[in-house]
């Protein structure tokens, strides 16, 4: 699992590559701590190359959403594949995020 974080002005782009499964979530969660701490702007979760998400991954997304909401920011989930979209739908997460193609 790879993660790249790039902040430009008010927009933080987090590129997730690979499988966000339970073991990977521990590392990703740690890497995203500073993003959650500074979530007043827009956070784009670029999921173009994300191939799988587990419950732990969903929890990470949710943590970011909570942090952003509390600080007046927004989380945009971008380019999720159909499998991950199904996971979002099956868990009722679909309307929790702004999902962009």
């Amino acid at each position: 699992m790879e993660i790249n974080i790039n902040k430009q002005e008010n927009v933080t782009t987090v590129k997730l590559v690979g499988r966000l499964d339970t073991p990977a979530s521990v590392e990703v969660s740690k890497e995203l701590e500073p993003v959650a701490a500074d979530a007043a702007g827009t956070i784009i979760l670029d999921c173009k190359d994300l191939t799988y998400i587990s419950s732990s991954g969903l929890r990470i997304f949710l943590t970011l959403r909570k942090a952003a909401t509390a600080q007046g920011g927004t989380v945009i989930v971008k380019s999720i594949n159909q499998d991950i979209r199904n996971v979002f739908m099956m868990t009722g997460f679909l309307n929790l995020f702004r999902i962009e193609e």
């Binding site: 199904n86 996971v87 099956m90 009722g92 309307n95």
Partner: protein, 353 residues
């Protein structure tokens, strides 16, 4: 600034003002903070609390005009001036009682201009309190008015007595006509607020008593209904499939969905829950039963209920697309989701009963 044209008596008053200016500024700020905190604690929303200390120039102007009237600075009651502007006319009285409780009022000089009008006169309506400053021999003024009274007073001030030009009778008459109209408007706003609060209380009572067929579906009623947790039991049942945790989220976006599904009253939603909960549970079991997903959001229950309703009533692909588009906006992926759900639905018992 040079105010040498003032006589020695007025010069002395002006000097006393200069000596006490820090006290006036500090007191004005403190009174403002006291009012602000009191209103916040009481949950009273006001449009603005303004405050100012009279400028030296303005005081000199006043002394030049009627300096002989004042024995000392203590006789001038508007060195510190505050103004509380309320949204509603009823709130003027609430603010007034707060002022009376918080400060020692000089009743001899306090004027309720709302009561000085004759039955056939309209115009300036405001409540002016003169209060004693704590620990100093000075007084201050607090004006209370509504935003509409404030708007009128400002317009009147611009066109009225201070402009130095005599205003033609027709303009004055128009201003007074406007005052009458704004007085009515203020009353109407208050009346609407009271009626709206009555309506909310009635709806809450109906929701609590279970007469849901009598409650039309709208933003207020849906919010009251959600407080009863109508989807909790379904969500818990779904969560139990994988011993999942439930993340509570706002379900208000479903108001539009339920309206689109022709629900006109809360009774309609209640029946939908009763009739389609089993279908919703079957959809959820089918989807997450063979996964290790152990987290769901509280919107899963209503989402799967709507899906069950759409599938069972022949809403097909267009119906499912409507649901996802309403909740998440248009996307080509909604078509894929719809196709997948239509395929899954063929295997579900509730579709074949």
């Amino acid at each position: 600034m040079d105010f040498s044209q003032l006589d020695p008596h007025c010069q002395a008053i002006l000097q006393e003002y200069r000596d006490n200016l820090p006290l006036f500024r500090d007191s004005a700020e403190k009174i403002h903070t006291t009012l602000e905190n009191t209103f916040r604690e009481a949950g009273l929303l006001v449009a603005a609390i303004e405050y100012r200390v009279k400028t030296e120039e303005s005081l000199a102007g006043k002394l030049e005009l009627k300096g002989a009237k004042y024995k000392s600075l203590q006789d001038i009651t508007d060195i510190i001036g505050l103004r509380v502007i309320t949204f509603y006319i009823d709130d003027v009285d609430k603010v007034a009682s707060a002022v009376e409780r918080l400060f020692k009022v000089d009743w001899d000089n306090t004027v309720d201009k709302r009561k000085v009008h004759e039955i056939d006169s309209f115009g300036y309506l405001s409540l002016h309190y003169i209060c004693y400053l704590d620990g100093a021999p000075y007084r201050f003024e607090i004006q209370l008015r509504t935003v509409l009274q404030h708007a009128w007073a400002n317009m009147n001030h611009d066109t009225g007595y201070k402009s130095g030009v005599e205003v033609p009778r027709e303009y004055l008459r128009n201003l007074n006509r406007l005052a009458g109209m704004l007085e009515l408007a203020d009353e109407q706003f208050s009346k609407i607020r009271t009626e709206l609060n009555d309506y909310r209380r009635r709806v809450q009572a109906l929701v609590a008593s279970g007469n849901l067929d009598d409650v039309p579906l709208d933003g207020d009623t849906f919010r009251s209904y959600l407080n009863l947790g109508p989807f909790t039991s379904l969500n818990k049942k779904i969560a139990a499939v994988n011993q999942a945790e439930i993340q509570e989220v706002s379900l208000m976006p479903y108001l539009t969905v339920f309206k689109g599904l022709n629900c006109k009253t809360l009774g309609d939603i209640s029946r939908l829950i009763k009739t389609y909960s089993e279908g919703a549970y079957q959809i959820a079991c089918y989807q997450i039963g063979l996964t290790d997903l152990d987290i769901i959001s509280s919107s899963l229950g209503p989402q799967d209920l709507c899906l069950a309703f759409i599938l069972k009533n022949g809403g097909g692909k267009a119906g499912i697309r409507y649901l996802f588009e309403t909740l998440n906006g248009p996307s080509e992926s909604n078509d894929f989701l719809a196709d997948m759900l239509l395929e899954q639905a063929q295997d579900l018992p509730f579709m074949n009963q």
